[in-house]
């Protein structure tokens, strides 16, 4: 009797049993989960590419917000989000960087069949312009994001 009771308790607490009744949460988004959108940013561009070893493609999204208008250029705050296009799992959310471009530069420079995301940016508040807002002077940083 004790064995039967223990077995029943095991069944009650077993994830295998409960998983039969588990209902996944309804997905209410199409392009990206809303939690990846930071306040004040908007989706600027997206592109599907192969970034990892799994067959499904990844969706790379560029979120951007304006960070100042100057006579001959603009500054933008950018960050990138990478989502598995099949599982919709958010695989990567970058930090926010500053640039005068809003580019989604995805290339397979090492020819390994997987694309890399290339970024050009500078640190916030570390730039100079003249009194007319021209001649942007910055120290550019370059890096890539790859899996």
């Amino acid at each position: 009797m004790g064995k039967i009771t223990a077995f029943m308790l095991f069944l009650i607490w077993s994830p295998i049993v409960w998983s039969q009744y588990h209902i996944s949460e309804t997905r209410t988004w199409d392009d990206y989960p809303p939690e990846v959108q930071k306040p004040g940013f908007g989706l600027h561009k997206s592109q599907k590419v192969q970034m990892d070893d799994n067959p499904p493609l990844e969706v790379v999204l560029l979120f951007s917000s304006n960070n100042g208008h100057y006579p001959y250029f603009d500054l933008f705050k950018n960050y990138y989000v990478i989502i598995d296009n099949y599982s919709k799992e958010v695989k990567y959310v970058s930090n926010v960087t500053i640039s005068n471009e809003r580019e989604l530069q995805l290339e397979d420079r090492d020819n390994d069949g997987k694309f890399e995301l290339y970024r050009k940016y500078f640190k916030d508040d570390e730039f100079m312009v003249d009194k007319d807002g021209n001649n942007l002077k910055v120290i550019w940083n370059y890096n890539s994001i790859q899996f």
Binding site: N67, G68, H69, Y70, P71
Partner: protein, 312 residues
Amino acid sequence: MKRYKAFAIGLLLVLGVLTECSAKEKIKAMIVTGQDGSHWWKGGSDAIKQILENSDLFTVDILVTPDWDEDIGLYDPQFNLYDLVIIYYGGNTLAQKTRKDFEKYVADGGGVVVVHSSIVPMDDWEEYNKMIGLGAWNGRNEKDGPYVYWQNDRIVYDYSPGEAGHHALQHPFVITTRIAEHPITKGLPKTWKHFKDELYGKTRGPAQNMEILATAYDDPKLDGTGRNEPILWTVNYGKGHVFVSLMGHAGNDPELRYSMECTGFQVTLLRGAEWAATANVTQKVPKDFPTEDIITLRKEFKAPFNALELER
């Protein structure tokens, strides 16, 4: 010797009288400004004052409204002391007495110039909406009137529902003159390029007694509306003349006013201001006016010494 002294004193008196007469002939203008969270209203209104006064045609007073959290009822200018009121304002609706005074001032023949984002505020002031003809944002939609734009050589009044107001990233754009014989646009090139600015689109409003003088194509490749959007227009309100220029962004991000440095903005502002105040334009088209290919700037907000040699 006494003769010379008398002559010199007489000459000075005559010159003094002439100078006084000349000063009296200037158009008296005031600028309504303040309370704009999206624009550098201090820099913008200062630029407008410089542009007008440097032409030697205007004297300009800047009358700043109370701040956002202060009582707008304290703002009570004597409009009738001026020939022209320039609106460069983005804040709370003026108090009822001020509104009524302004309506009377315009209806009785006062001149008004409305610059750039001043078509955004005071959406709940029906008569202001009539004066500006077309407005944008602040909840304006089909209840306020049709979208108005230019298509197939005519004005389209589009009553389809939708919110008013749109602009993409700032960029230079080409202005196309639509009424070449209006005093404000007479002699200007058919097309000319304006320096980097916000191109407002999807404007809508009562659009009564209105003439569209110039438009700009809002290129969808640059996230634009795909329409030829009104940029310069006039509205007749009672006996008063209103001139609206959608150019003239002055950013607070940072505080720069390069759009106002454009010669095309400055010249059309000067001509529109003179027309609104006097129903006439005496200014010749300057030599440095931009063309479709060449943008020109007046960074000091005044015409270069050789700008007025040529009349087109």
